[in-house]
């Protein structure tokens, strides 16, 4: 089975994240870049499926040169090779452009299964897996908390507000996974060393037959009009519980008409 797992480098959620004042895009230099947390579950699921069914796991990332760190991490976990879609023309791409560019790259790579994290921790739009399924014309098996492949059939449990849906489809397909579907492995020392020798192919937009007019900040379908740091919340009242903490809280809730 030819599995492509999409990963994204994002700013560390534990640090302060910013937008750039010049073009209002994500400031990638302001914070350390890390693998999008939810993508680690995608990599783990890809590796587990490969272990069970054979095949190959290719990592695909779109991002600046710095994103190679993220590729190395996925390769160190056990992926076989990587494709780095990187081109200055892609800077500032919104979800529509990104899904278009990624779909073009995926067509070029070829796949039986595409696996992604259900959203990135920076933009948090959660739309990319659905957009990819739409663009590629393959089944959308998103928000999976369980994935099972049997020959050319695939079944998932899709997380819902009320529990989950059992969903069935045929390969090829796009899958997105939620947290807790598995326990992502830590790269071993051996894995880290091996990753250095694994092939990483860099694709520019021409290589992936991406139309420059459809990507980048200039092509975006939406724009940030302006932005500002959120004003700090006004300091609240903090009391120490002296046996009446619950009652004091009830007073507060009553004063706000919640009870």
């Amino acid at each position: 089975m030819n599995i492509v797992v999409c990963v994204k480098q994002v700013p560390d959620t534990a640090t302060e994240r910013k937008l750039r004042s010049d073009d209002k895009t994500l400031d990638r230099d302001a914070a350390d870049g890390v693998v999008n947390e939810l993508d680690e579950y995608a990599v783990e699921e890809a590796l587990k499926l490969k272990e069970a069914h054979g095949g190959e796991v290719t990592v695909l990332t779109m991002g600046p040169a710095k994103a190679t760190e993220t590729i190395r991490k996925a390769l160190a976990m056990g992926a076989d090779k990587a494709v780095h879609l990187s081109d200055d023309a892609l800077h500032g791409s919104d979800a529509l452009s990104t899904s278009y560019a990624m779909a073009q790259a995926l067509r070029k790579i070829g796949f039986d299964l595409v696996i992604l994290g259900s959203e990135s921790t920076d933009a948090r739009t959660g739309v990319l897996p659905a957009m990819l399924a739409e663009r590629l014309g393959v089944p959308q098996l998103t928000l999976a908390r369980k994935v099972e492949v049997d020959g050319s059939s695939i079944a998932i449990e899709r997380l819902t507000d009320y529990g989950y849906d059992k969903v069935e489809a045929s390969l090829p397909a796009v899958v997105s996974v939620v947290e807790k579907i598995n326990e992502p492995r830590y790269p071993s020392f051996k894995g880290i060393m091996a990753a250095k020798k694994k092939p990483v192919e860099t694709l520019g937009i021409a290589d992936a037959e991406i139309d420059a007019a459809q990507v980048g900040l200039g092509a975006a379908w939406s724009e940030v009009v302006d932005f500002a740091a959120a004003p700090p919340r006004a300091a609240g009242t903090i009391v120490k519980d002296e046996g009446d903490g619950g009652a004091k809280l009830a007073d507060f809730l009553a004063s706000k008409k919640f009870i």
């Binding site: 959620t13 959308q140 997380l159 969903v167 379908w221 903490g245 619950g246």
Partner: protein, 317 residues
């Protein structure tokens, strides 16, 4: 004024609160037209949608629409965008709502904005990003604006309208029937409101200490008619099911009142609840970062404070 399509969220034939919020919002920007997708439409549903301002109701009741993942709803909306030329399309910013919005954006070559917490003139959306640290105004610049609006962004208010029904038949493509839902498994949540929709959310974290102890969180929630949430530490420990996780990698909630019990308030948690209107925290550690957000905080043992609060609420009802 031009039509604004509002995709109706419904469960067991009942219109969900977020749809009433979206209709209220749509009224300030144009003429709301509700879009009902799937079976379950009834006179009650019509009455509710009309009461909150739906001038028109498009009804596409084919069961096919809900038998497959997301794609049929996007096809239905794309068909209506083409036939009705609306000024905008609003959906609820739930996980599925955002996926519908995403596919619709590709189909109609339109821009999409997700997780709006407000929407004003020119369809300029308010968004709160990076865990609530930055406020952004954004807008769609190509095609029909598609906006996924977070539940609890607007208080719903009635304003009766005609609610003229129009049957819509949609012929689904093969691609839209590729991922078939074969079973829906409902897991117990009792009579509590849904987490992302609830006006009040009571969440428990590491400080709760065990799965059994979550009963005190649930009792407080029930006394307030609230939903129950959990921090990642609590779901990681297996004390509460994953679908109730609030935070960066879980649900984002924006309730009127958020009560955090035994939650330290790491940035990853704050990303899921920072836009709550009123925040209350109970934690043993006076240095816990959650107190920086709290409108009211109690430094103390939640195992004492929470049951006392529940008792007080019951007494005062």
């Amino acid at each position: 004024m031009s039509e604004i399509l509002v995709l109706v969220e419904h469960v067991d034939g009942e219109v969900k609160k977020v749809t009433l919020e979206l209709l209220t919002l749509a009224r300030s920007l144009g003429t709301p037209a509700a879009v009902w997708a799937g079976p379950g439409y009834s006179g009650d549903a019509k009455a509710k949608l009309a009461e909150y301002g739906a001038e028109k109701i498009y009804v596409a009741s084919s069961p096919d629409i809900v038998d497959y993942v997301v794609a049929p709803k996007a096809e239905l909306l794309a068909q209506l965008v083409s036939s009705a030329s609306p000024a905008a399309v609003l959906v609820a910013a739930t996980a599925e709502g955002k996926e519908i919005a995403g596919r619709l954006a590709v189909k109609t070559d339109s821009g999409v904005i997700t997780d709006a917490v407000g929407l004003g003139e020119g369809f300029v959306a308010d968004q709160s990003i990076f865990g609530g640290g930055v406020n952004v105004h954004s807008r769609v610049t190509k095609g029909t604006p598609i906006v996924a609006v977070r539940p609890n962004s607007t208080p719903p208010s009635p304003a009766p309208a005609a609610g003229t029904e129009e049957e819509v038949s949609v012929t689904l493509s093969d691609a839209a029937r590729a991922a078939r839902i074969v079973d829906r498994v409902k897991q117990e949540k009792g009579a509590r409101p849904e987490l992302t929709e609830a006006a009040i959310v009571v969440s428990g974290g590491r400080g709760v200490g065990s799965a059994e102890n979550f009963s005190i969180i649930e009792e407080l929630a029930d006394s307030l008619g609230a939903a129950v949430g959990a921090s990642r530490a609590a779901t990681d420990a297996g004390w509460y099911p994953h679908q109730f996780q609030v935070g960066q990698t879980g649900k984002t909630v924006s309730p009127q009142l958020y009560i955090a019990a035994g939650i330290s308030g790491a940035i990853q948690h704050r990303a899921g609840m920072q836009t709550a209107k009123t925040i209350v925290a109970i934690n043993k550690d006076p240095e816990a970062p959650i107190f920086e957000l709290a409108d009211f905080g109690v430094v103390g043992d939640l195992h004492q404070v929470v049951p006392q609060l529940t008792e007080e609420i019951k007494k005062r009802k």
